[in-house]
Symmetry: C2
Subunit: 338 residues, 2 copies
């Protein structure tokens, strides 16, 4: 019993040169394509997120209304539903899963969109966090295909500080005594997963969020209850360490300048974007700060910056609080009307 | 051969009720007390810092000039020089070292200052980070003794977010497969220490510091070189995990409101301070943000806030760059002249 579909990619060759035989892309769609196929939205997933984690932004009365749009949510490689270390047979299993890039994720999604659905134009690509990274990559990889883009709480290339944050998560996860270079088999690395969760906790929400005890609004009764109940629970919820490390490497290496043809020139890649862009960083996001997105917006021909105000930090884009949901939804509404 | 002195505390009872027999306080002094003993400054150490790590702020021509002031730098418990898990014999060794608080550190220092030096008034207490925490504690524990205080990049009580940051460091350190509940004996926990270093790295300096590649000014040739050369080197440099955990707990539990007599009332403790205070947080400090210090300054009768500008984040107070050294030194100069 699953609520999603599989697109068989066949032999999929990653940018690194590795080829995964029988690669699979898991996705879910919402709504129906119009006869002209001019109502298609792609909305990729975030770090460890699954398609159902995106559903807070989709629904009747929302901008992403399935009555109006055909919304495709592709699961990124490594998230446990699409091809991932945890579901790939030997020899490309566990720590031998191919290195993946943002570019690879978007190429797989492009095949889904064009081959399965015959779609040649996207009304919008949008996403949170690594979903924002895939949004940027879509606009650079397929500039004539993407009409609008709305990355929120993400970036076009991972900043040095963001990489340092990721290094902390990676180091905590792999410090687990049973890690064994990633070949841990059926063992469950709860020590490493819980440690990674605690490292992540300080970054996900802002200082002010914690100062104001806003975790109580999420139903947690103390700081420690939030760390165990939300954060450790989050990382223990069917999240495999090699899957997390695969996605972490995608994030760490993300840079639209690495798209073939741009020779590492991030600014040239941004300048090549043809989509109309609305970029929404969160005011107190600790790893995707608004300044970095202001830098990107200055380099995209047709882009606006709109900062999500408030203290929720990166998790402004997680769908956890109604104010930020409304802000993002209204931004999308304006963009779609333009 | 050592460049410091030992004050024998004898049987020292901590707030927790544990008594350490033969407890020792390591310290170093700079300059000489005046006949009236009215030129005494106490300058406690930071998390894992030793007295020599404070010396960048002391010297001829600086405000903390040994020609003028008698400067006492006490090493806090757990830093490896004063009594610490690493240098205490059984049974209070390793993971059984007593729980220490800011209050305990200051009580031990108070005995040093009064018993060894016969000093009853302090012209100034100052310090960075946990040294700032000890500065606040001095002013609350001994309000009639402390004339001036200048905590920089620290706080009077550890904020919830700051605790979360510390939880990440702790979790990474203790994830090491050889940790064994803190009873690791002679084994060196390099995996945990390196992981804790990488977690710390994202917090110590600001996003903008990394964006601007300012680690190059410190002599590092790449981001990874900075992570290995500076950060991992820092944590591997004679730093013992149980020592780090002892100090981490001091920090985590820090709150002047827990001073006996205040029943947990942080605001009442701050209101009781008689010292003239200059409080200097750093503009982009990620775990002691200026807003938190503004909150404290509003509650101290005679206090001013002066934010250290720039992108060095918490390490503005580490003595790593001349601009911030000058800013702090000038703040101290004004305070001492007032």
């Amino acid at each position: 019993m699953s609520d999603y579909e599989i697109f068989e990619l066949g032999d999929f060759t990653f940018l690194s040169g590795a080829t995964l035989r029988g690669a699979r892309l898991a996705y879910k769609t919402y709504g129906e394509p119009s006869p002209a196929k001019d109502n298609v939205i792609v909305y990729p997933t975030w770090y460890s997120g699954r398609h159902w984690d995106n559903e807070w932004l989709i629904g009747p009365g929302m901008t992403l209304d399935p009555e109006r749009y055909f919304i495709i949510v592709p699961n990124q490689f490594g998230n446990g539903l699409s091809s991932s270390p945890s579901n790939t047979p030997e020899p490309y299993d566990q720590a031998r899963f191919p290195r993946v890039t943002m570019y690879d994720n978007v190429e797989a999604q492009h095949r889904l969109v064009t081959e399965r659905f015959g779609v040649e134009r996207l009304a919008l690509v949008t996403g949170w966090s690594m979903g924002a990274g895939q949004t940027y990559q879509w606009a650079v990889s397929h500039p004539d295909m993407v009409q609008r883009m709305a990355p929120f709480c993400g970036s076009s290339h991972t900043s040095p500080h963001n990489k340092v944050f990721l290094e902390g998560v990676r180091a905590a996860l792999t410090a687990d005594g049973n890690y064994n270079g990633g070949f841990y088999g059926e063992r469950r690395l709860t020590t490493g997963l819980r440690a990674a969760a605690r490292v992540y906790a300080g970054w996900g929400f802002s200082q002010a969020f914690y100062w104001q005890h806003l975790y109580e609004r999420l139903g947690y009764t103390s700081l420690e209850d939030f760390l165990v109940g939300f954060w450790e629970g989050f990382f223990l919820d069917d999240r495999d360490p090699n899957n997390l490390l695969t996605m972490l490497r995608v994030w760490h290496s993300a840079d639209v300048g690495l798209t073939p043809g741009f020779n590492g020139d991030t600014e040239a890649a941004l300048a090549s974007i043809k989509a109309k862009a609305l970029v929404m960083p969160a005011e107190k996001d600790l790893y995707f700060p608004p300044e970095d997105e202001a830098w990107a917006v200055e380099r995209i021909p047709n882009a606006r910056l709109r900062v999500i105000p408030g203290v929720w930090g990166h998790f402004a884009g997680h769908g956890s609080n109604p104010e930020d949901v409304r802000f993002i939804d209204e931004g999308l509404r304006e963009l779609m009307a333009s």
